[in-house]
């Protein structure tokens, strides 16, 4: 190693904004090299991956359709991460939200009334929130590590969903396919743009962005969460009720992820199927970091992540690449981001070649 890290003493704010940008550029470069090594023209391949998907109105609408659930999950996750609660469970909370919303929507399948859709969405939020609260309760009362419990709850939620979609929620007239009946019209989210799948979910997500921003910058609870993240000892000394904050952030995060799940089944899907999320809950973790845990940052990072999803789908068709290219790019982006974040707290210097007692451990 010829480089050494020198602490800055104070975190660099400029670097914390520059780092996601740098990570994005490095991901692009690596992506180009990667496509070239597979025998594709890197410029053309990157264009297919990142520009072609949004070159028309339909593509833009799809971008918003995919960004909405990611944004909802990531806003919730950012609150938990700020409070030093490592909620990895957005995926499971999303699935539980989708499941409970579906169960209610199927109960109301023949009801035509304006209140059906809000009731379905709220039941999705309740389902997700309860799933999140379960992990919060286990952490508060039994000291159980929330990283591991929320991951396990993701798997458990998936099997619960599969149990119901193969069981009592299966369409009796569906020729045995593991799918529910199509929901009634009044449970479906209204379409914003004709001939596209763009539904009001993106508006709900943008509302969540604004609400989170107000909550964090204007409310005392939001302030407490911020302090808890910056300095947990200071928070303890100020007498903030730590356990209550853990419950609160997990409640909000679970409810938002549940709303994302409800929005998927009542939006682009329209029924309950075995796979309602291509890993949106995991992608949201990357988005939360990439957006610097800030609502505005998360807004843009969600759009980028949605673009990567679409790029992966298009690369599968146009370049005959496996769909996994999406998660490959996601992982790469997070790796580069974490690596670039080193500049926030450290200066990287060339190592002195002369023997210097300070450098012997680096």
């Amino acid at each position: 190693m010829f480089l050494k890290l020198q602490p800055r003493g104070e975190a660099s704010l400029a670097m914390s904004y520059f780092s996601p940008l740098l990570a994005g550029i490095l991901t692009l470069l690596t992506g180009g090299v990667f496509f070239a090594s597979l025998g594709h023209n890197p410029i053309d391949a990157l264009a297919i991956f990142l520009i072609a998907p949004v070159s028309d109105l339909y593509g833009f609408a799809e971008l918003c359709v995919k960004a909405a659930p990611i944004m909802l999950c990531a806003i919730g996750l950012s609150l938990t991460f700020r409070a030093q609660v490592w909620n990895i469970g957005a995926e499971g909370q999303l699935l539980m939200g989708g499941l409970t919303a579906s169960a209610v929507a199927l109960q109301l399948i023949n009801v035509e009334a304006f209140w059906v859709m809000p009731v379905v969405l709220i039941s999705g939020m309740i389902g997700g929130a309860l799933w999140g609260l379960l992990a919060a309760w286990l952490r508060n009362s039994f000291n159980a590590n929330e990283i591991l419990t929320t991951i396990m709850f993701n798997y458990i939620a998936l099997y619960i969903l599969l149990y119901f979609v193969h069981g009592s929620l299966k369409d009796p007239e569906g020729y045995g396919f593991p799918e529910s009946a199509l929901f009634g019209d009044s449970a479906l989210l209204p379409i914003l743009l004709e001939d596209t799948r763009l539904h009001i979910g993106i508006l709900l997500a943008m509302f969540a962005v604004v609400a989170a921003w107000v909550f964090l910058s204007r409310s005392f609870l939001g302030f407490q969460i911020k302090v808890l993240g910056l300095d947990s000892n200071a928070a303890k000394l100020s007498g903030f009720k730590h356990k209550r904050l853990v419950l609160l952030v997990m409640l909000i995060s679970g409810a938002l992820a549940g709303l994302a799940g409800a929005g998927e089944v009542t939006g682009p899907i329209g029924q309950l199927i075995p796979s309602i999320s291509p890993g949106y809950g995991y992608a949201a973790i990357i988005v939360a970091f990439l957006g610097r845990l800030h609502p505005i940052g998360i807004f843009f990072a969600s759009l980028l992540m949605a673009l990567i999803y679409m790029g992966g789908e298009l690369a599968q068709i146009e370049l005959k690449l496996p769909l996994a290219v999406t998660s490959l790019f996601q992982g790469m982006l997070l790796f580069y981001l974490l690596a670039c974040d080193v500049f926030i707290n450290f200066k990287v210097k060339l190592k002195n070649t002369k023997p210097d007692f300070k450098t012997e451990h680096a």
Partner: protein, 308 residues
């Protein structure tokens, strides 16, 4: 229950627990040195896919297993470069490793899904494997299972009786003190992470070359995460890791047992069992705060910068 069923359940329990045991032993060493690597799942999957491809193309199982170990180590060094070299947050870096490894393995393995190979066959040791009930479980397994017994003994001995084990523990308990008395903190941590990576790769290779000899996307199915919980369950002690691994093995084969006994239970509910058991066990172990603190490496997951 007849004796044949019990014998077979014990046999399958050890076989199913083996990949968990191998990953968890690797993670145990890693965590003892103070490094929390949540990327087990990603390293396992890379081990599984790389091992599978090498065995498929060369026809050699040994080369496949070696490749699996190397793949896991290479992945773990990516983690180490960022989390140790650049002092990044270990939780986030581990997550990145899992996401990246899941994607990369699915990408590389896309062309190999469903291709059959001849997997590692069990070798029954004469006479010993004839012992009722435990004979088949302990002496009619494949070579990797026997190797896992050896690995367990080595790790147990390493921490109980070796000087190197003491160094690893010192580095995990208090890197500043260890650094002050001249122990190579960073080198120890890099090596511990590499060992963990190699073990995760080997466990992944076991899945694709022996346990179910084929490659499927995401085939580790959360075993890497369960192994992380296992280390907590074991309160960082090797002898409890092996016990836990087999208990989880048992929880994972409950569906076979239920089928064998003729109970009509939903396969989806039974598939949930290992994950539910993990939560249950975590709750039971962690609720005793004093006891779980006593064994947790003090510096677990916290970055160490010699001059920071």
């Amino acid at each position: 229950m007849d004796i044949d069923l019990i014998t077979n359940v014990f046999y399958a329990m050890v076989r199913t627990g083996t990949p968990l045991l191998i990953v968890a032993l690797g993670e145990l060493v890693c965590e003892k040195s103070g490094v929390l690597n949540l990327g087990q799942e990603g390293m396992m999957l890379m081990g599984a896919v790389m091992g599978f491809i090498v065995t498929l193309t060369t026809g050699s199982l040994i080369l496949g297993f070696m490749m699996a170990i190397i793949a896991g180590m290479v992945m773990s060094m990516m983690f180490a470069a960022i989390a140790l070299g650049l002092n990044a947050n270990q939780v986030a870096t581990g997550l990145a490793l899992t996401i990246f490894g899941t994607g990369l393995s699915a990408f590389i393995g896309a062309a190999y899904v469903g291709v059959p190979i001849t997997g590692l066959e069990p070798i029954a040791i004469p006479l010993l494997s004839e012992i009722p009930i435990i004979g088949k479980m302990l002496f009619a397994q494949d070579l990797i299972v026997y190797l896992s017994f050896v690995l367990f003994a080595l790790v147990y001995w390493f921490f109980k009786h070796s000087r190197l084990g003491l160094i690893v523990k010192a580095v995990g308990e208090n890197p500043h003190a260890a650094n002050a008395i001249g122990l190579p903190v960073m080198k120890t941590r890099y090596l511990a992470v590499a060992f963990g990576g190699g073990m995760a790769g080997l466990a992944g290779g076991y899945l694709s070359l022996a346990y179910t000899p084929l490659w499927a996307e995401n085939m580790s199915a959360g075993r890497g995460w369960i192994a992380l919980a296992l280390v907590v369950f074991a309160t960082w002690r090797a002898e409890r890791v092996i016990l836990g691994a087999y208990l989880f093995g048992l929880a994972s084969i409950l569906n076979l047992v239920a089928q064998g006994l003729g109970y009509p239970v939903s396969p989806n509910l039974l598939a949930m069992m290992p994950y539910a058991a993990t939560v249950l066990v975590l709750v039971m172990i962690s609720s005793n705060v004093r006891k779980s603190r006593m064994y947790t490496p003090m510096w677990l997951g916290k970055p160490f910068h010699p001059h920071g």
